[in-house]
């Protein structure tokens, strides 16, 4: 079987697994909607009818297939707390989340990479020690603490009081700076701490390779050695880390960040959905983010051969 077909099949099997688990948790053991729909003091006949409409009386597998069919046709249902279609809710909130998270995520990763280069270049001397020790201490500080410290410092009368402590009324670049600076800063700080040591280890590994010695012998300077020689060799693990932490940041990171700063993004929506047991919303977010992970993994396999000529999808044996 050709390798790309195998990879695609594998991704599909993962999708099946994820949807099965979310079906099991969210739908099968999830909140029973019949009571909510029936209103106060329903009689058993009424309840029975509603349950039939909702398909609760169907056998397990039938319900699962209906669920997959709905998901595949992006028929995500309606939010139970405000009645909006889930797809519309997501279309409104995903851009907000991206605006809050993406810049900080990218800047944080680039900054971590640059600092890692400094550390790897000065390996075992003071800049390296300073950076690695700082990031070890830094990852020991909870994201939560960083958020609270930053917002207390920048957003309250106790500190500098430069930014609003909550909210989101963004329609221009200036208003973006008003509302997104502090969350972005928090995200940059954790991203740098979280990635610095990993990127340093990657680069240090490359710095010990023979081809770096060759480059040095042929007059390459620090910039050239780092960016033109070592970096291309770390691109795969670097991008892998970047891509695979994206879904986690989008869903889990935004959960904390947006609920703390009151930003109406995916995180806030899922936070509200958790507390209102708003099953269709939660369901959609879990399934979609899992799909995102799997699609990213699937895509990565096709990108890698372009980054490293030694990887050849066709020639690879199972």
């Amino acid at each position: 079987m050709p390798i790309y077909l195998r990879k695609t099949l594998h991704s599909l099997s993962l999708l099946l697994g994820v949807t099965f688990i979310s079906f099991l948790l969210m739908v099968y053991f999830g909140p029973d909607r019949s009571y909510a729909i029936a209103g106060k003091n329903p009689d058993t006949a009424q309840l029975e009818e509603i349950r039939q409409q909702l398909g609760y009386d169907q056998p397990f597998l039938n319900r699962y297939f209906t669920y997959i069919k709905d998901l595949a046709s992006l028929n995500l249902g309606q939010s139970e707390s405000n009645g909006k279609p889930v797809s519309q809710l997501l279309a409104e909130t995903i851009p907000v989340s991206l605006m809050v998270l993406l810049p900080g995520f990218l800047v944080g990763n680039l900054l971590a990479l640059l600092l890692a280069m400094v550390a790897a270049w000065y390996r075992h001397s003071w800049p390296d020690r300073l950076l690695t020790n700082l990031s070890l201490a830094g990852v020991s500080v909870s994201f939560l603490i960083i958020i609270i410290l930053l917002s207390t410092w920048l957003c309250t009368p106790q500190g500098l009081n430069l930014f609003p402590s909550r909210g989101w009324r963004v329609d221009s670049l200036a208003s973006w700076f008003t509302y997104a600076t502090v969350p972005s800063l928090a995200l940059i700080i954790v991203t740098v701490f979280f990635n610095l040591r990993f990127y340093r280890a990657l680069l240090l590994d490359e710095m010990q390779q023979d081809y770096i010695r060759t480059a040095r012998a042929y007059g390459a300077g620090p910039f050239s050695i780092m960016f033109k020689e070592a970096l291309p060799n770390t691109l795969i693990p670097f991008l892998t880390r970047l891509l695979f932490s994206l879904p986690a940041i989008l869903v889990s990171g935004s959960l904390l960040l947006e609920s703390y700063f009151g930003i109406p993004g995916v995180g806030k929506v899922s936070f509200d959905a958790i507390f209102n047991a708003d099953q269709p919303v939660l369901n959609a977010i879990v399934s979609l983010s899992a799909i995102l992970v799997i699609v990213i993994a699937w895509l990565a396999d096709f990108i890698y051969p372009y980054l490293d000529p030694r990887i050849n999808l066709q020639a690879e044996t199972p």
């Binding site: 081809y211 010695r213 012998a217 300077g221 050239s224 060799n233 490293d308």
Partner: protein
């Protein structure tokens, strides 16, 4: 003729090695256009000497003495990318497979060096690349290939092309053929010799293989435990080695068509690296050892024949001249 490289009383020890040096009191000259061979067993300090010439010693080494290249003193801890004495030197390494960047095409890797060292216009670079590839005997399309798509011999040719791209006058080759199979080894050695002569390069060829050196070099230095124990023109070393260690190395070369079948000899024992003895370092393995050998270090002297230097109190006698 003035030497282009002169190494004066050079000693180097790695950090943490204590008093034991990797290279000890080495004196050596390389003339312009001369090919010098450096022979010795594993760990005797050959690579250390080469790295010192390139100004690429690992940080923290202790060193004494100096190296002068074209009248310019070598800074042993040259910061990468700074112009320096080592711009006169190009080096090729033992393991061509790992010495090339695996994710960058051959052409780009050579081009970078052309850009760095020649004053060519951008538009002239592809022609220069093609010229270099041809010089080292690689077909034109190789520029587009990646290192893993080449054989070991071709990879070594690429490194040679990089060395030529550097437009250096001195080429240091650290065991360039050790990782190659026998046939390829010969091709690369021939290419090396041909290039050295055609481009009038000074060559320092490092090897533990005396037969490889014989093919290419005019002058040979034999190193034992960081010291030069014998230094002489190639012919003399092969016909009348004076130091017992040189003789041992020669005897260990297998001959393919010996006139008289001869038992392959091996050097007895192993180099004793652990301690720094006061006498001759080779004493524990030497068949010609005398009691006085262990009292004092034999100096590297020129004896009657002026251009053959050796460090031995009891050298092998000169072969008797047959009438």
């Amino acid at each position: 003729m003035n030497p282009i490289v002169s190494i004066r009383n050079l000693s180097i020890s790695y950090p943490g090695a204590g008093a034991r040096s990797a290279v000890k009191h080495i004196n050596m000259d390389i003339l312009p256009g001369q090919a010098v061979g450096l022979v010795g067993e594993s760990g005797c300090g050959k690579t250390t000497l080469a790295l010192a010439l390139m100004g690429m010693l690992p940080p923290g080494c202790d060193h004494r003495g100096e190296i002068i290249i074209s009248g310019q003193k070598v800074d042993f801890y040259q910061r990468p990318g700074q112009p320096s004495a080592r711009d006169h030197c190009a080096m090729i390494f033992q393991n061509p497979q790992t010495s090339l960047n695996p994710v960058i095409s051959i052409g780009t890797q050579i081009n970078r060096i052309i850009q760095r060292y020649s004053r060519l216009k951008k538009s002239a670079i592809p022609d220069r690349l093609a010229e270099l590839l041809m010089l080292v005997g690689l077909p034109d399309h190789c520029g587009k290939l990646y290192p893993h798509e080449l054989s070991g011999g071709m990879q070594q040719r690429v490194l040679l092309a990089m060395a030529l791209a550097r437009e250096a006058s001195i080429l240091i080759a650290d065991e360039p053929t050790t990782a190659l199979d026998a046939g390829t080894r010969l091709q690369i050695l021939n290419l090396l010799k041909q290039l050295q002569e055609k481009q009038n390069l000074s060559l320092l060829l490092i090897s533990h293989d005396l037969s490889a050196i014989a093919r290419v070099c005019q002058q040979v230095a034999i190193v034992y435990q960081g010291r030069i124990v014998e230094q002489a023109p190639q012919k003399l070393i092969y016909t009348q080695p004076r130091h017992p260690y040189s003789a041992g190395l020669l005897a260990a070369i297998p001959k393919i068509h010996p006139k008289r079948p001869r038992k392959l000899q091996t050097l007895l024992g192993e180099a004793n690296h652990a301690t720094e003895q006061s006498g001759c370092g080779f004493a524990s393995r030497c068949p010609r050892r005398e009691a006085y050998c262990e009292q004092q270090l034999p100096p590297l002297n020129a004896t009657l024949e002026k251009n053959q230097h050796f460090a031995c109190f009891n050298p092998r006698p000169l072969p008797t001249v047959r009438k």
